[in-house]
Amino acid sequence: MMMDYVWLIPLFPLVGFLINGFCGQRLPKTIVGIIGSGVIGLSFLVTVKIFLEFLSLPAGTKAVEKVVFTWITSGTFQAQAAFLIDPLSLVMLGVVTGVSFLIHIYSVGYMHDEPGFYRYFSYLNLFVFAMLLLVSANNFLLMFVGWEGVGLCSYLLIGFWYEKKSASDAAKKAFVVNRIGDFGFLLGIFLIFWTFGTVNLREVFALAAKYPVGSGVITAITLLLFVGAIGKSAQIPLYTWLPDAMEGPTPVSALIHAATMVTAGVYMVARCSALYSLAPLSLTVVAAVGALTAIFAATIGMCQFDIKRVLAYSTVSQLGYMFLACGVGAYISGIFHLMTHAFFKALLFLGSGSVIHGLHGEQDMRKMGHLKKYMPITYWTFLLATLAIAGIFPFAGFFSKDEILFHSLVDGKFIYWLIATTAAFITAFYMFRAVFMTFLGESRVDPQVHPHESPPVMTVPLMILAVLSVVGGLVGFPIIEGAHVFREFLSPAITPVAHAGGHQAVSFEVFMMIFSMAVAAIGIYTAYKFYILKPDLPTAIANRFPVIYDYIYNKYFVDELYDATIVEPIKAGSDFLWHGVDDKVVDGAVNGSAGVITWLSAHLRKLETGFVQNYALAILVGVVLITGYLIGR
């Protein structure tokens, strides 16, 4: 059985990393590209094989674990290097290897003129290795290895053009902010171990089932884990690193900062559904953070001009949707949206990369327009992805997003639904704004630049992803009984919330779908009006509400706020610790006591003159004084 060799899935990318990392500099680019993409292709094939094997397992088999070796043993603590094969990890493995493979191929074209070509591919392979560990680990600690590992690769790839200050700044910011999240995750792992005596996922879940709903320790564990998710999946208040992460090469943004790594938090919450379902408070926090982030990031997305930044805020917002889904107990819908989002958002990023490539590095949408004429494949694929993200039937995003909206109303609160629907409107608006500003309307391209369509090595992955963005949602076809293949497949891996909302009438579901479509359509029309019919309108509105516009355009000044309230005080405090405390107080005491001794000895030394008459005089004085004292007593 291939399943016994599940470790091959992460091993291939690791080998690719080692080969390209050590020898890549001396290999021709073609070979580097073939190795880099080939190893991911192999992982994908193994995943497919294991997926088929898993389907043929006897009914009732929920999961298979494969231990490779025991990693850390200390006292009763044990962590293994071991893999968990179950529906959830299979979905994630499939998405990660599949999308990665396409993006690797695309990268061969996109990064072709890059001197650090081998370095790029070795990092990218290392990333896939870490991501695969993350989604297939059978215990929390190994998951954490992947978790920090993807953070490292994100750091390396954001800072790929390390000569640019902005790139290395963004890289460092990403790593440090992620570490803040990891801090919570780590404490969560400690609490898990000392509560359950194991870090094995399935053992923990089985033991947790004995705890009552609302148990304090489970709530604490889930909240700590969610801190990790907030960091990795760029939610409020730790989302600020993701827009900056766009300093990295565009395929990296597609792979790491849209399709895979940033969804790790959603995966983790869904993976721990057995814990979250016992902690209503944590679920409320997850849902609230998700909903808030969804709308907050969407509003910022409306006012950005850098095409990648629009997509970045859109990603933050869509991740918010996924958390909202998990928070109302609709974990499967969260994972469903994770998957469809991986398709269409990877496609959007790769499309924007194709545009940037065709315009020789231009990212500002104000200097684009009418590119449809020069880049038809990019345009059409981008449009399909935009329809998907806007939630138009029957594109992939429609099914998953609609499910989230539906569940947020039925299993959540009206306010969640209202926020999510508003955000859906804004999403449709800013995404079509991007399409109109980039591909349609008047050309504002610098006349020096001659736009061109990208080579097939880039456009073929676009087309494949476009197909997935169109049909990818059909695995979760609603209403018809049994047509939601995705749910049927995943449900063994998910522990639902005890009192999930009851069954709703079909007519209500249909009504909701039509309503959300209408919302999206209005969003699209608004964008059309603003950017095609009356292109002067946006500026007019911006001028009319300068304060609000300024506020949103500057991303609510959150970065500045963090700098002023956290970063600078820590720096100033540390500087004080160094100069004030360490130099003055601690070392002052040391040098001071040395000084006192030196001073004392310098004075005492004067007594030792070496002249006999001095000593004789001192003796005489002493004798006189003592005699005087004795007489006078």
Binding site: G21, Q25, F69, T70, W71, I72, T73, S74, G75, T76, F77, L141, F144, V145, E148, G149, L152, Y155, G159, Y162, E163, K165, S168, D169, A171, K172, F175, V176, R179, I180, D182, F183, L186, L187, F190, L191, F193, W194, I570, K571, G573, S574, D575, L577, W578, V581, D582, V586, D587, V590, A594
Partner: protein, 511 residues
């Protein structure tokens, strides 16, 4: 007859010194080559310790014992257990690496330098294996002198004397109090049992009244806390590191500091267990201050060596925190973290040494963009930095994780505060890395720097091997410390139980 492996390992460097005495002082290549050979042989000789070590037993192994001054109960008594094995191996492992690292760095008084280096090795190994308090004290003091000379003679001309004297005085100050405590212990043991001896293992069993434990714990503890160094006794370290030659810094960080943490494990805790339990809050809090304070001050440093020195304060804080949890993961993590710190920080000092050789400056502001002219160097520097900030998959994570896991068991607040150190570590290391390695080359002198030579790569290769090994398969090393740690914890738990009985008795009397 069984070969006296341990004595061979301890005294072989001294034999090497005799050999060096006969060599031409002007022929640097030969001097360095011979010392390198000696270092490799030394490592080879120590390998049987590793392979023949029985990890199943907490008992001392490779024991050798000869009467020295029998009338005072002083003997030459050495042995190895799970606490010392790894540190011994680390020391012999680093010897040849250190010699290789002097190749370009040390150009005057080479002969004397090599002699000091070998004497230092001998002294340090002696400290780790001595099981007789008198013998221990001799080694402890002996090793001070060559280190003093390394800093004072081969250090940075500007402030080397200040740094050397500061180092010497700090250590002497602690040692003298320890000497007094050793004598008190000696006479106490003699009085209560009738046998006057410096035998450490015999003393483990003796009952000492709490008030005596209290003061003797502090006397020993001060000597060791200065060595660790724990806040607020750390200020000698940045000066000593900054002024010492590269190899001096490497040995100082990798091995010398471990004598402090090892001292707590070998002497303070088992000799005065009740006092050890009593002082858990004090030492844990000092360790926590060290972790956070060291990291924050490190962040602001402008000199690379000072930055690493303060990061040592932070890392050693983790070790102390772990040891004082008296839990399996905490103590085992503490031991493994001693080794990790030796490897990572040793490597960091080597890295700084290599750019210092090229540019004759250690100021961060003088660099920037080094990744472009020195890609191999950049890759190695990156891996070592990541190991230092505890990236999973590399060595640092295993130690920090186990320490924090143990601490979380005993005190959630301590663990939470300590875990922030993990965040700050990322800040200071990555910021430093960014300023040195990333960006454009702004200083023309940096544009054509040579990348690492084969000799320099050979220095790092073994270090990197173990950085990865400990990260991926730490059980190789954890297994060696398991039996000894279990035995140690059983002893500590027993002491705690009796302490509770004593203190309850106290309360009863007070009423």
């Amino acid at each position: 007859m069984q070969l006296p492996i341990l004595s061979i390992v301890i005294f072989f460097p001294l034999v090497g010194i005799v050999l060096l005495l006969f060599l031409d002082r002007k022929n640097h290549k030969v001097l360095k080559g011979v010392t390198l050979g000696l270092g490799l042989l030394e490592f080879l000789f120590s390998l049987p310790l590793w392979f023949r070590f029985n990890s199943q037993t907490p008992a001392m192994q490779f024991v050798e014992r000869y009467a020295w001054f029998p009338s005072y109960g002083i003997s030459y008594y050495v042995g190895v257990d799970g606490f010392s094995l790894l540190l011994i191996m680390l020391t012999t492992f680093l010897t040849p690496i250190c010699v290789l690292a002097t190749w370009e760095d040390i150009q005057h008084r080479v002969k004397e330098f090599m002699i000091c280096l070998l004497a230092l090795m001998s002294g340090m190994l002696g400290v780790f294996v001595a099981l007789d308090l008198f013998l221990f004290y001799v080694f402890w003091e002996v090793m001070l002198i060559p280190m003093y000379l390394l800093i004072g003679v081969w250090g940075n001309p500007a402030r080397r004397i200040y740094a050397a004297i500061k180092f010497f005085l700090f250590t002497m100050f602690g040692s003298l109090l320890m000497l007094v405590a050793i004598l008190v212990l000696y006479f106490h043991y003699g009085k209560t049992t009738g046998t006057y001896t410096f035998d450490l293992l015999m003393m483990y069993g003796v009952a000492i009244p709490f008030h005596m434990q209290f003061w003797m714990f502090l006397a020993f503890g001060l000597a060791f806390a200065i060595k660790v160094p724990m806040f607020p006794f750390h200020t000698w370290l940045p000066d000593a590191h900054t002024e010492a030659p590269t190899v001096g810094s490497v040995i100082l960080a990798a091995v010398l500091l471990k004598m402090g943490t090892y001292g707590f494990l070998r002497f303070n805790m088992p000799l005065f267990p009740q006092a050890a339990w009593h002082f858990v809050p004090l030492f844990s809090i000092l360790a926590l201050i060290g972790i956070v304070y060291g990291a924050l001050v490190s962040m602001m440093q402008k000199d690379l060596k000072r930055l690493i020195a303060f990061s040592s304060v932070s890392h050693l804080g983790f070790v102390m925190l772990g040891l004082f949890t008296f839990t399996m993961p905490g103590v085992q993590g503490g031991i493994i973290q001693m080794i990790n710190h030796g490897l990572s920080t040793g490597a960091l000092f080597l890295i700084v040494g290599m750019i210092y050789e090229r540019r004759h400056t250690r100021m961060i502001a003088d660099f920037g963009g080094l990744s472009t002219p020195m890609p191999i160097f950049a890759a190695i520097f990156m891996v070592v930095s990541l190991s230092s900030i505890g990236l999973p998959g590399l060595n640092g994570f295993v130690g920090e994780f186990l320490i924090l896991l143990g601490t979380f068991r005993t005190n959630v607040v301590y663990a939470t505060v300590a875990a922030t150190g993990v965040i700050f570590a990322a800040c200071y290391m990555l910021w430093m890395f960014q300023r040195v390695m990333f960006g454009e080359v702004t200083n023309e002198k940096n544009r054509n720097l040579k990348d690492l030579s084969w000799r320099e790569i050979a220095i790092f290769a073994p270090l990197l091997l173990f950085i990865v090994w400990i990260g991926v398969y730490p059980n190789t090393f954890l297994n060696k410390t398991k039996a000894t740690t279990e035995n140690f914890l059983a002893m500590m738990d027993k002491a705690k139980a009796s302490q509770t009985a004593v203190s309850q008795g106290f309360k009863g009397e007070a009423r």
